[in-house]
Amino acid sequence: MVVSKICTGNYAAAYGSMRSRARTVAAYPITPQTFIVEHISEFINNGEMDCEYIEVESEHSAMSACVSASASGVRTFTATSSQGLALMHEILPIASGMRLPVVMAVVNRAIAAPINIWVEHNDIMPERDSGWIQVFCDNNQEVQDMVLQAYRIAEDKRVSLPMAVCLDAFILSHTVEPVHLIDQDAADKFVPQYKPTGPILDPDDVAAVGVFTPPDYMMECRWQTDKAMRDAVAVIKEVNDTFAKQFGRDHGGMIDPYLVDDAEVVLITMGTASSTAHEVVDDLRAEGKKVGLVKLRFWRPYPTDDLRKIAEKVKAVGVFDRAVSYGVGGPSFVEFKSAAFGLNLPVMNFIGGLGGRDVSLQDVRFMYEQLLEAAKTGKAKRDITWIGTRGVEQ
């Protein structure tokens, strides 16, 4: 039976962890993630969720406890944002290095300074190389669905890596939308009972997890983790297909392209800016303009092949970044340029929506206009444009 509920992205994330039968949750409150841990606490205290909840004293301890619980053979979940994610930073590559399928919801919020609690992707960008699989969601339905998918992907033996499910602060975390909630039977069918992907800490079968490793063995460890991240691409697509088959919702796998087949220009977006861009594409198409949209869902692993195939067919590509790598441009822009290396087409970077600044339909229309102009002239007016920023030329 399909139950629909009007709920926030935070509720969808918490609900997804409950239906995935996470058995140990260690988390610490931080705006705008806090409701996730509150909902989980309520599920547990109401007897709906059978789970050890560890009220740790910091995010650093939250991730540490998740790593060690996972190493001890149970399914784990946590959630955080911004500064909390930064505090976890040290432990994130330990989770991936130990090949532990920890799943975490990250409610993307600006990183200080200046201190700000609204949406921005600058909090997770420093974790790009942490060995975590990272998916960006565009709506609350996707948040719930991706938490379930995250366990399937992370716990696949070919992968065995931790995964972050990212949702935009407030725009998803605190905004209610109708969500088809997955019931327990259906969830159990999709997310099987937890089986650890490697040796665990168990007094009946002695193993060490996390030992001092000299240079003689280090390269092989790194190579295996890198291979797992590469292999994850196929698993992500498989899991997406399996999910679509069972639940009738196809979120697209690595990317979710919209009207790109005959497009002259495409814009690449992450998170909720995708919905806004979707509207603008419809408007521009109605005006006869051949524009398309690529929702970049997975940031790690990066969909290099998928994006390159699209780039080969269009005349200009724009990349919208809700983050900036100071002095270089948006991280997604930089990544795309690497994927499109050698292709002779204008690539434009639009940086906007930082610290919760609204990204309007007009803003996106402006981006497409710039791209159409670049397609016509074969030249980008400028590489990097800061959208709606006082004192900065558009």
């Binding site: 260690a26 540490s64 060490a208």
Partner: protein, 296 residues
């Protein structure tokens, strides 16, 4: 259990690469005999990690886990909760860290786990400096001691501050069990680990473990120095069981100069500073005794 009743089986085996005379290795070898096979260990970045668990070798005969430096108590929490999920609550989780990993960088996670009364045994092996990185000052280094970050220079020499009182801090958490132990007083050591093993909830034992390399002493004198630390009052042997404090050994109050003179780390100390440290030790012992009387 008496000393001669300790099992022959080694759960922390020979072949590890600790320095000769290492107090920490002595402590771990013996405490594992008491805790037994049904134990899981988590250990931060420290000497013990390196000399006991450098791939492809492992001295531990029980599950061994290392994550980072400052999170031993948080990791032990994850382990103990996971064991509960798996219905294996009878397995003891031991977090074991040095003084830097406990009193300095690890104190936040430790305090959190203690406040939540997590079911674990937390052991601090106290060698009074960051030995693994090469003898740097920690919060647990005693006043006057030379370390590589409190070098003996022309205008300053040795640590200017006094040793952090971790056992008292842990007793303030009102956990089921807090004790101090020493590798120099092995029967007292055995009694405390036996007691801690049988209890549930958060247990903390701080072991005094001399480090010949860092303290600059004869490797044959580890036990002698540990005993002198107790007899001079530098290290109080006491325990706090469910809120009640008991002094386990009344020191002879041997002058601390007897203790200091065996160790190169104190060699530079002038009379004034020795007196300052002696006064601190005298006051500390009196305070410990009064504290024990208050919490009978």
């Amino acid at each position: 259990m008496k000393l001669k009743e300790l099992p022959d089986e080694e759960l922390f085996t020979r072949g590890h690469t600790a320095c000769a005379g290492c107090g920490a290795a002595t402590a771990v070898r013996n405490l594992m005999k008491i805790l037994g096979k049904n134990t899981m260990v988590v250990n931060p970045a420290c000497c013990l990690l390196i000399f006991g668990a450098t791939y492809p070798y492992l001295a531990w005969k029980v599950p061994f886990h290392h994550v980072a430096f400052e999170n031993t108590a948080a990791c032990a929490t994850g382990m103990t909760r996971a064991l509960r999920v798996r219905g294996k609550e009878d397995t003891l989780v031991m977090g074991i860290a040095g003084d830097g990993g406990t009193a300095d960088i690890g104190i936040q996670a430790l305090s959190g786990a203690a406040e939540r009364n997590e079911d674990m045994l937390y052991v601090m092996y106290d060698n009074e400096a960051y030995m693994n990185t090469g003898i740097q000052r920690s919060g647990s280094t005693p006043f006057g001691a030379w370390t590589t970050t409190t070098p003996v220079g022309k205008v300053k020499a040795g640590k200017a501050d006094f040793k952090k009182d971790m056992p008292l801090i842990m007793m303030a958490h009102n956990v089921p069990y807090v004790a101090t132990a020493s590798v120099g007083n092995i029967q007292d050591f055995i009694n405390k680990f036996e007691k801690a093993k049988k209890m549930k909830g958060f247990r903390y034992i701080q072991i005094f473990t001399p480090c010949p390399t860092g303290w600059r002493h004869d490797t044959a004198k580890t036990i002698e120095i540990a005993k002198l630390a107790v007899e001079t009052g530098m290290w109080t042997l006491y325990e706090c069981e469910n809120g009640k404090v008991k002094i386990n050994r009344k020191p002879k109050m041997t002058p601390i100069s007897e203790y200091l003179k065996l160790q190169g780390r104190f060699r530079h100390m002038k009379e004034d500073d020795i007196k300052k440290l002696q006064d601190w030790v005298t006051r500390k012992w009196e305070a410990d005794e009064k504290y024990a009387q208050c919490r009978q």
